[in-house]
């Protein structure tokens, strides 16, 4: 691990500052990036300092929006909902994905292919279509799940119509939908592990479980790092499912923070406030990612 970082530095030191070459690699990426990604974000920051109903010109407010946010109980509630969503869905999703991917990486090629296809089905479909289907499945009394519960003599929880279960139901659907995607990422990572490492471990006398912990998992860490950061980032931005499954309810219990932003901006026509929440959200995610980035030295293996 330590060797990896120093070796990169050494490798790079050996080559002169490759600024121009780097620029030629980066140029197409960077130009579009600045024009169509950075610029709108700067505009968002500007708008967060105004009051804007989209129909009349923006009015300058300074930091008023920011002061209001932190005492807004709605903001805190949706932030809490989103945090719960992230904590519930990210670890479960990644652990399940690793577990299933390892099972799918065995010697039986045809079976593996079959499972790969089936598990990827939810990912292929649009969130809208899937959320609609799950809405039917979750329905009280007449949905399929409720049917299953009553056929074994239990009463189903009110998946979408109680404040206790609403967010959890969204989590379940989202984990289900994203599983195939995470599995593919892990599989790609698994494919990248050179067989030589396994052979070396076998020579050392390691059994299946050991091989997993000593070879597979460490070699997977760059992929897992990527998956964790991306999952956290995208979890904090969950929107479609909450809108379609529960419409944020009952009573805001499953309103995610981005749904709150959308509501502020496009329903209540308070785009300034919406941008403010977006900036705060951004700062929060940035903080989390920076923490994860700093921690990567502790557990991520590059070129071990």
């Amino acid at each position: 691990m330590v060797g990896g970082a120093t070796r990169t530095k050494a490798y790079l030191k050996r080559h002169r500052n490759e600024r121009l070459v780097a620029l030629s690699f980066l140029a197409p990426n960077l130009i579009g990036f600045i024009a169509l990604t950075v610029l709108p974000i700067l505009a968002t920051i500007y708008i967060s300092l105004t009051e804007w109903n989209l129909l009349k010109p923006p009015q300058w407010l300074g930091f008023d929006n920011y002061l209001k946010i932190f005492v807004s109980k709605r903001f805190l509630q949706t932030l809490g909902n989103t945090a719960y969503y992230t904590i519930a869905s990210v670890p479960v999703g990644i652990i399940l994905a690793v577990f299933l991917a390892v099972l799918m990486n065995g010697p039986r090629k045809k079976l593996n292919t079959f499972f790969r296809i089936v598990y990827y089905l939810p990912v292929i479909s649009s969130t809208v279509a899937v959320a609609l289907i799950w809405k039917f499945l979750y329905a009280d009394d007449i949905g399929l799940f409720s049917y299953f519960f009553s056929s074994i003599g239990l009463t189903a929880p009110k998946f979408l119509t109680s404040t206790q279960w609403s967010m959890t139901s969204v989590v379940i659907m989202s984990v289900w939908k994203g599983l195939g995607y995470n599995i593919i990422l892990v599989l790609a990572g698994l494919q990248g592990i050179a067989p030589t490492y396994y052979e070396a471990a076998e020579i050392d006398g390691a059994n299946g479980w050991d091989r997993f912990w000593r070879v597979t998992l460490p070699m997977l860490t760059p992929t897992l790092f990527f998956m964790t950061i991306m999952s956290v980032i995208s979890s904090f931005q969950v929107f479609d499912q909450t809108k379609i499954l529960t419409d944020g309810g009952p009573g805001f219990s499953s309103t995610s923070i981005v749904y709150y932003i959308y509501n502020l901006g496009f329903v209540n026509m308070k785009f300034g406030a919406a941008c403010t929440v977006a900036v705060v959200l951004f700062a929060l995610i940035l903080l989390l990612s920076m923490i994860q980035w700093a921690l990567q030295k502790k557990w991520v293996n590059y070129d071990a």
Binding site: R7, L12, N17, E18, V21, A22, F25, L26, P28, F33, L36, V38, P40, I41, A43, T44, L54, F115, I117, V118, Y119, Y120, L121, P122, V123, I124, S125, S126, V128, A129, L132, W134, F136, L137, L144, Y147, W176, L179, G180, I184, G189, Q191, G192, A194, P195, P222, F226, M230, Q237, F239, I261, Y262, F271, A274, A278, L281, F282, L286, S289, D303
Partner: protein, 278 residues
């Protein structure tokens, strides 16, 4: 550890069993979707829910095709998704190489900014982006659908991680031979990251195939609609025609399955480590 051919170990069997259970849960909602697409409007809400429609309404599919220009939506979606995928593969693989291997001032700081942009939800940036695109005169054209999406911090990040897990020795060999960054990139990195490229390509294609919010804003006339918007046309103000929407959704899903079937064999190829051992 040699087993007799054809026999299955206990751990393997239980593994496969677990996979099967999971697979069933993956498939169930889709069976439901297809079965709803073959029901009548009333039948779609029957309680208890039935999987087999009484009389399969194949006519639902023709009704969808006849009532909206579905073929045009297909075309638009294919062109858009393909162009974006190719564009992203090119710009992201090159950009990721710069971040992973090349040394230049401020490299890591710029990369962090890349990551940071992923953290701003699309719902807010889309208004300023829309204004920019409108100013460029791209509204209601393929340019608006494609160009803003070619530049992806996500793709750059994904590929950077993959590149960084490739051992340096291979590139060092090229450098010793006197080759530059370009040779390293084309000869070594690209071939080795085919699984990653295939992965990224599939994700990107899929994401933009189902992408809804941005095309909604930048297209005005039905001729420029992509598939997700076409499906939404069946959601009326008070009543949604679920059976038709499910039929439309099923049709929208099919090309994706084809793409995936085609791409997923690339996931199988591992890294060829011929001739070079640590």
């Amino acid at each position: 550890m040699h087993r007799k051919r054809g026999s299955v170990s206990l751990s393997e069997a239980s593994g496969i069993f677990i996979l099967f259970l999971g697979a069933l849960s993956m498939v169930l909602p889709f069976l439901w979707m297809v079965s709803t697409s073959l029901k009548t409007y009333n039948e779609a809400f029957q309680v208890p829910p039935s999987f087999i429609p009484q009389v399969p309404q194949w006519g639902n599919y023709t009704e969808v095709l006849n009532s909206v220009p579905f073929g045009r939506f297909y075309f638009n979606s294919i062109v858009t998704s393909t162009a974006i995928t190719l564009g992203q593969l090119i710009t992201c693989s090159m950009g990721a190489y710069a971040f992973a291997r090349l040394n230049f001032k401020g490299r890591d700081k710029i990369f962090v900014i890349y990551l940071a942009t992923l953290m701003v939800p699309a719902q807010v940036t889309m208004i300023p982006t829309f204004i920019i695109v409108k100013w460029l005169g791209w509204i209601d054209s393929f340019k608006a659908l494609i160009i803003p999406s070619i530049f992806s911090a996500y793709g750059t990040f994904l590929l950077r991680q993959f590149y960084m897990s490739i051992p340096m020795e291979l590139e060092e060999a090229v450098r010793i031979d006197g080759g530059g960054a370009y040779r390293c990139f084309f000869q070594i990195i690209l071939p080795l990251t085919k699984p990653a490229l295939a992965t990224l390509g599939t994700f990107v294609f899929l994401f933009f195939w189902n992408n809804f919010l941005w095309p909604l804003l930048v297209t005005n006339t039905t001729e420029m609609f992509t598939l997700p918007m076409g499906i939404q046309l069946f959601a009326g103000r008070f009543t949604a025609q679920w059976h038709l929407m499910m039929a439309a959704s099923t049709m929208a899903m099919l090309p994706m399955i084809v793409v995936y079937l085609f791409a997923q064999k690339y996931f199988v190829e591992g890294i060829a480590m011929t001739g070079l051992k640590a």
